[in-house]
Symmetry: C2
């Protein structure tokens, strides 16, 4: 097997990070860690899509401010999101006087953007790179599923798209947790055709990337304080645990999934949170906080993405998944 | 102004490239340079979207073969396309046993993927990276505009989405033209709201990136054998020439636009070709060919992308553009 894992020599630091979430997310399990909780999902805009764009703008501004940098110090934005043509990211990028590199990895985008950003900073190509992603329940729901007004019943395996944006600044200067490794994942498709069951569709890609990462780096789950997937949810994370056990690797109490942990049980999100914003807001609030405090020392962050589109589904395609992993050390 | 231009120390080489186009494109001005001309737009598949995915697969396989490499030698695919959730690229990636990094820059994607690929190879992070993009007239038309059966009249400023995919392999080993520089562009929006007039919407971003590139590198148009934009088309390239002249820089006979040059006059494409596949297939056939033969020595390749979506347009948004540039030397 070719080595998929990149080890960073200079180890770019996360010098600033910011998370902004909707009101439902602001009542969930990570409520004490977010930088900003919106009062409603419109965020002062006329449409949910414009609100999502504004969330991205604010996350970028927030991360730059927390890095004690100015907009003029930033060399590049690496960002993407779930909306068609990643408009939340692209239209947000319009507001800033720095170049923009659009990426797409569905809900794996936070790790993808950070892996790309870390390569660019580690290699000395640019000094300060902002990495960002977002999702919004109301924009995702009406683009991927049904009109909100339709009020469809949600199947038990479904998840709740997080309304939230997360951003961080990578740099060699300044202080913060270090990005030490990155493992880009392969696209894996085990033939799942139930578009409500994203956890089952994405779990195999998480397994593939995790196996590659452990093999490439000669590590085991015990080498990490926290191994965290993005939005496999309750069912998907159980499937991952099973799949890994079949491969002889036992994921213990140091394994968790952002989606599974995101909401309180009485918030009725069924299998938990999902969307790019799910792992992005947990990473850029709770996880960064714990790394800075020294309560976490080495984290394997590996959000997964379901690479479907409504067109692909309508043409009878199954749902491929991808999982990109990064290692962050305090 | 911060330096936007990256200069590659090791100068990754384009060791293999491949272009595949539809029958209309195969009758255009570059017909003698393409690797494969399809007999029809379905390419043996049941839908245009599946045909587009298959074009990507073939372009990737073709580029790897022409690089005299095997699939097992490839470390990463960097790809994106115009379809929602870049499904042509993601579903094609499913067929290959190497990691996948999805990118989105609309019709600037060939340069974006190559800039990212060149950074990864130049920095020594991976050995062999495939960069790819695609577009298909029939998938783009029905996603962005009208059902094909509707047979709408096309306004004079409109362009014709190229059915074609282009791919290349970047590596430090082997022989081929070198990627020596890359300039990531900013998102520029001058308020164009006519979604048929992509040339006008994208020309300002080409100007911004071109000005940044010339300033960052202390070069002038005379330093390049060929300066080529992606799909500004007849009108957009005229606008770019005007805009540059206003800034005191005269673009001469060494400037051209892939879209403007793509089709014969009697092929009725109005302002010319467009789509990710436009610049991708010209670059990976004609331009690479001329570089290899020594007929071109230094090329500034700068495709532009219009970062709109139908949702953004329906919500009254204007059309932002982005332009990424790379320099290739024979």
């Amino acid at each position: 097997m070719k080595c998929q894992t990149i080890k960073f020599k200079k180890q770019p630091k996360i010098v600033g990070s910011y998370s902004i979430v909707g009101p439902k997310e602001g009542e969930g399990n990570f409520k004490d860690y977010f930088d900003y909780i919106m009062k409603n999902d419109f965020f002062g805009e006329k449409t949910f899509e414009k609100a999502e764009r504004k969330m991205v703008e604010n996350a970028i501004i927030g991360a730059i401010a927390k890095a004690k940098l100015e907009v003029k110090d930033v060399n590049l934005l690496v960002a993407g999101d779930l909306l068609n043509q990643i408009i939340s990211s692209s239209y947000a990028a319009r507001a800033f006087d720095f170049p923009y590199l659009g990426v797409y990895g569905a809900c794996s985008t936070m790790a993808e953007s950070m892996a790309v950003g870390a390569i660019i900073v580690d290699g000395g190509y640019y000094d300060n790179v902002v990495c960002c992603t977002t999702s919004h329940f109301s924009t995702a729901e009406r683009q991927y599923r049904f009109p909100l007004e339709f009020g469809n019943q949600r199947p038990p395996v479904s998840q709740w798209t997080v309304t939230g944006a997360g951003a961080c600044v990578l740099s060699l200067k300044g202080e913060g947790p270090k990005v030490t490794m990155a493992t880009f994942g392969k696209v894996v498709d085990w033939g799942i055709v139930d578009v409500n069951n994203m956890g089952a569709a994405m779990a195999p890609s998480a397994m593939e990337t995790m196996l590659a990462h452990f093999e490439n780096t000669s590590t085991t789950p015990d080498d990490y304080d926290l191994i965290v997937t993005g939005d496999l949810g309750k069912l998907g994370s159980e499937i991952l645990i099973d799949l890994m056990e079949e491969k002889g690797i036992k994921l213990g109490l140091n394994y968790g999934d952002c989606g599974q942990m995101y909401y309180r049980r009485d918030q009725k999100t069924l299998c938990g949170g999902s969307g790019c914003g799910c792992s992005a807001t947990v990473f850029n609030s709770y996880i960064i906080n714990k790394l800075k405090k020294g309560e976490l020392k080495k984290v394997l962050f590996m959000p997964t993405g379901a690479l479907l589109s409504t067109t692909a589904t309508q043409q009878g395609e199954s749902v491929p998944g991808v999982c990109h992993a990064i290692v962050i050390e305090g």
